[in-house]
């Protein structure tokens, strides 16, 4: 155990000293204020158009806007179902007099994690994960690493553990930065605000039998938990690619292409139901909490978790099988 702890420490040291973490933190520190500004501006714009700060009016306006989009004949059926579900959900909020967008840092954090789970967070994870093994190959240090009295699987395991710890830490930093930066603009209130969860979808209808309220902080914790799982899946896949590919640039490129096309494909071709078996179309786990309908039919939280777990497991098996057997050639 202490040997594993020493190995993990080594790997963490490498990640930090390579300044990968620093890059991630800098990206967050630059982008979160931009997102904050964008959201503040958006809210202001909406308020200006309707001429009120009363969220009920704004919400009603949103519902009508969505209804208008629904009325458009050019809208594909899948989008139509999704929009209708969204409208019904908004109506539900309105009927129960709950403001889903009460301004404040916690609301921002909640929205931020819901939005970033499919694209932004995975890209941050890839920055750290994609070179964790491939850089040892491209730097030639793999020869030193594998000629120690340590089994190869232990070395790879230590890298994997270090990666998971780092990903967890990135998520924590994301949360803390999002909270503290957005709080400057929106204030820090709203942690105990009630948020609705438990929306279910059945045959294109919104089922509200299980809808209930949770305090926002608990909701955020759960959303981060799900985002964390998604991020770890991305890290695991990235880890496998890093084992298979010797160049860091290639491994980063492969992962980014996969993530971006995964999130695009679901929107481009929601009728292509086979897409739901891909890992990157299942990353929007936080949507299961908010009740935001998934693009592709037949996706539920257990389904998505199963798909992600199967992919992760396969990636881990491949990574270990290849790493422990492969010849280290020039």
């Amino acid at each position: 155990m202490s040997e594993m702890a020493r190995l993990v420490y080594n790997e963490l040291l490498k990640i930090v000293r390579k300044r990968r973490m620093l890059v991630v933190v800098l990206i967050l520190a630059v982008l979160i204020p931009i997102f904050t500004y964008a959201q503040a501006r958006q809210a202001e714009e909406l308020m200006k158009n309707v001429g009120t700060s009363d969220w009920r009016t704004l919400l009603q306006q949103q519902i009508v806007d969505a209804q208008n989009r629904l009325a458009s004949s050019r809208l594909p059926d899948e989008w139509r179902v999704m929009l209708r579900l969204q409208t019904e959900q908004l109506q539900f909020y309105l009927d129960h007099d709950i403001n889903p967008t009460a301004p404040g840092a916690p609301t921002f954090v909640r929205n931020f994690i819901e939005q970033s789970v499919a694209l932004f967070l995975p890209l941050l994870v890839v920055i750290v994960a994609s070179d964790i093994v491939s850089s040892e190959h491209s730097g030639g240090t793999i020869k030193l690493l594998l000629t120690r009295p340590v089994r190869r699987w232990k070395i790879l395991l230590s890298k994997y553990l270090a990666l998971i710890l780092t990903v967890s830490l990135i998520l924590l930093i994301t949360g803390i930065l999002a909270y503290s930066i957005s709080g400057l603009a929106f204030g820090y209130q709203g942690a105990t605000l009630p948020v609705l969860t438990g929306f279910q979808e059945q045959n294109g209808q919104l089922v509200v039998d299980h809808v209930h309220l949770v305090p926002q902080w608990k909701y955020i914790l759960m959303a981060f938990g799900l985002a964390w799982f998604a991020a770890i899946t991305v890290a695991t896949l990235s880890f496998m690619v890093s084992v298979l590919v010797r160049s860091t640039a290639a491994s980063m490129g492969i992962m980014m292409a996969a993530i971006i096309s995964g999130s695009l494909l679901a929107q481009l071709a929601p009728t292509w139901t086979a897409l739901k078996y891909l890992a990157f179309t299942n990353l929007r786990l936080a949507d299961y909490l908010s009740g935001k309908p998934q693009m592709i039919e037949g996706m539920t939280l257990p389904f998505s978790l199963t798909v992600l777990s199967v992919w992760s497991l396969a990636a881990v098996i491949i990574a270990f099988a290849v790493f422990t057997r492969r010849d280290v050639l020039a």
Binding site: N10, L13, T141, K143, L144, R148
Partner: protein, 305 residues
Amino acid sequence: MTNGTTPILKVEGLKKRIGKRTLVQDISFQVEAGEIFGFLGPNGAGKTTTIRMLVGLIRPTSGTVHIAGYDIRRQFLQAIRHVGCIVENPELYPYLSGRENLELFARMSSVPTERIDEVVQISDRIEDKVKTYSLGMRQRLGIAQALLAQPKLLILDEPTNGLDPAGIREMRQFIRRLSREEGISIFISSHILHEVQLLCDRVAIIDHGKMIWTGPVDQLLDRDMRVEWELEPIESGMKLLRSLPYVTACEQKEQNRIVTHFSEEKIDEANRLLIKEGIAVTSIRRENYTLEDVFLKMTGGKAGE
């Protein structure tokens, strides 16, 4: 742990094939405790592939490697514990300092960090990042890393590559001292015959993936010298030199150059014979042997004999 009779490194019938290409085959040799063993061959002969197999980076297609009696494949941990190595260039983590690199490897080998001060005498650059180091400094840090776990066998791949003459001399002295004072067996690969001659007790020669000779270094070449002639006319000169009994190798190079091997004292005699036959001698040059000469000798070089 090992008594004097167990060789520190024993290689038997090593072979590596990737796809249809055979990289190395029939590699067999032994390195005894305390000796400096040279592994000589031109670039691309399969030296690095062999070394990678010795330390378990590549699994051989067939054949075995035993280090201090342990099979590198079946008892990897026990075997590798006795080895310190640098494969090809000493590539360390450039974003860590020299000391951090050593600490990192010390943690992997369960070596106390005090050992770092033993392998590196305190220097002002040890706290600097490795990316600021010159090649010579990296080479030294690489060796320090190899010595961390107090190995019985040190495997060095072209240790003088990229060093300036002063650095080469220093490295040679260092290797000798390690062998003499610490009793470490040292396995050195090189493509420079001269270096192997100066350092090693025994040598194995590899070419095109095959071992062609192994034995003590002093048997490698006799006391003959490499002598280069420029003659006119070349054909009759060649014929004359070949007929001399003390010429062990003779080969024509380029248009008017002939390379011969024979004893230094006989140069004068051969020269006089040539002149007597009316052959113009434009130059005689005496040189150290190169690897090329070894191959020349192995293949005979004396056509028709």
